[in-house]
Assembly symmetry: C2
Homo-oligomer: 332 residues x 2
Amino acid sequence: MTSTGARAAVGSDGAHAASLGAVLAFDIGGTKLAAGVVDTGGVVHAFEAAPTEAKRGPAAAVARLFDLGRRVVDASGVPWEEIRAVGVCCGGPLDRERGVLLAPLHLPGWEGLELTALAEEEFERPATLENDATAAALGEQRYGAGAGARDVVYLTLSTGVGGGVVLGGRLFRGSTGNGGELGHVTVDWRGRHCRGCGRHGCLEAYVSGTSIAERARETGLDAATAADVAAAARDGDPTAVRVWDETIEALACGIVSLVNVFEPELVVLGGGVMRSGELLLAPLRERVRRDAVGPAATARVVEAALGDQVGVVGAAATAFEAIETGAVVPHG
Amino acid sequence: MTSTGARAAVGSDGAHAASLGAVLAFDIGGTKLAAGVVDTGGVVHAFEAAPTEAKRGPAAAVARLFDLGRRVVDASGVPWEEIRAVGVCCGGPLDRERGVLLAPLHLPGWEGLELTALAEEEFERPATLENDATAAALGEQRYGAGAGARDVVYLTLSTGVGGGVVLGGRLFRGSTGNGGELGHVTVDWRGRHCRGCGRHGCLEAYVSGTSIAERARETGLDAATAADVAAAARDGDPTAVRVWDETIEALACGIVSLVNVFEPELVVLGGGVMRSGELLLAPLRERVRRDAVGPAATARVVEAALGDQVGVVGAAATAFEAIETGAVVPHG
């Protein structure tokens, strides 16, 4: 399933990539591994994905991930010597500086995995590790929906809810690299239990794909996924409409809180739940305009542009940022 | 009521101030005006406060504010020619760049007031305008409870709830200077009406001094202020204990959300409500440790150090920051 990126690749001769530099980028998700070759223009020269099979443990998954990596470089047409670095992103919490997973919420049992060291040994290039949603935020800001905006809040509504923040064109990371846990802002402190963090009433407990479907089933609706709920709401099923309205309320509440805190130019929404499109976006835009405090209410709310490749493009963006700031000395 | 600052002043001869530079700083609150002379070490050489009498309109208040300013400079012993700039802070939203109040929540009718221009004309020095809680955050980070920490979240629990964030030692302001509206993160989206912003369930609607007393009265308690509620809770009054516990729950919820978002080293809590001290602080510390995600849980929670002078010290800190970054050319 090698494919070109959201933007047109510049051909398989690697000429563009060679002049600008390219990186091998990895995205390690709870259910999916992905690898891609991405140049500094955000062009994806090759992309491949495979199931994580997280339960079989990290060693097997990492071996398959690195295989994917070798295959995408070969398929990309970018010569190996032009691959400047390896960018990896994964669910947090993680220790970015040391390149080690700490207690990844969606990869139980992977604690302590030294991903940066493993990638550096395997590919003989410097490697970076970044929280996946944080990386995606930079990917969207640089190469996706955020192009042009310097202050961007990014939320991904998927199995869980992740987020990242770009301030003044640079990733915001918090004091040890685990800031931007936007899925774990509260919308109701006496609300639903949050599987992600154990608290109550987190945004994630209402608007992740998992939670939307779960809430629908609790009201008696026959829904396996958030898409089923969206479809039933579109068809006017009153129960589905109620669940969907609650989803909008919770998400609008979380977004307005974040807009009040960060006053960004742009809010970018990604993840599978966003396939519902305007059914979510239109009311969210109205809420931000109506409810945010002062000038923050002018923040635009848009859909993410990078689709399934956002993790890989984001991991690449963070590797390029590390090269630009001098944190990483590029290969070659 | 001229007084020395939280730190020892260096004497009335102004020698220290002269060598380091000093600014005239103003804090415009909904109920109180304050003026002070502050040097770059955060030492307050003179301080004076007076009621705002906001309803009499901005012209009368500004005239009295500037009178206060002349008096504190005279009282400080710092020669006028050593006053490098004028720093003003006020409740938002405001237009920092243009130095104009937009729609200050606690000063209805003051819209459009050109504070920076008025101060520059009056004192013949460059002037800066900053949101009061934002300024206070920088004041506490530089000269108060935050000394040493580079990533600080500051919350003030007063008539309303304000906040500010210092990231990497610099004020975080949002894209037009109105970010950091931390009082308007939600803790319960179906919750109490928020007088400050019109939404429901904002942190401010539960943990401002006003809201704490109001919630207590709604349960039948005879409480004029948050201090009355705290005192009754300390005495074991079961109704007061319930109101106090709810205050802790709401505040912990908001703080954990902010800690998850910013992953700061330090959370500094100020404002009148903090006179309740450990009755609030001890359970809050426990909640952050228990509930925040990953390394964010190590954020320390401490009481503000600058007391009633925080606005003036904060306004001065932002004026000094403007001089340091070259945004303002100091007088003399």
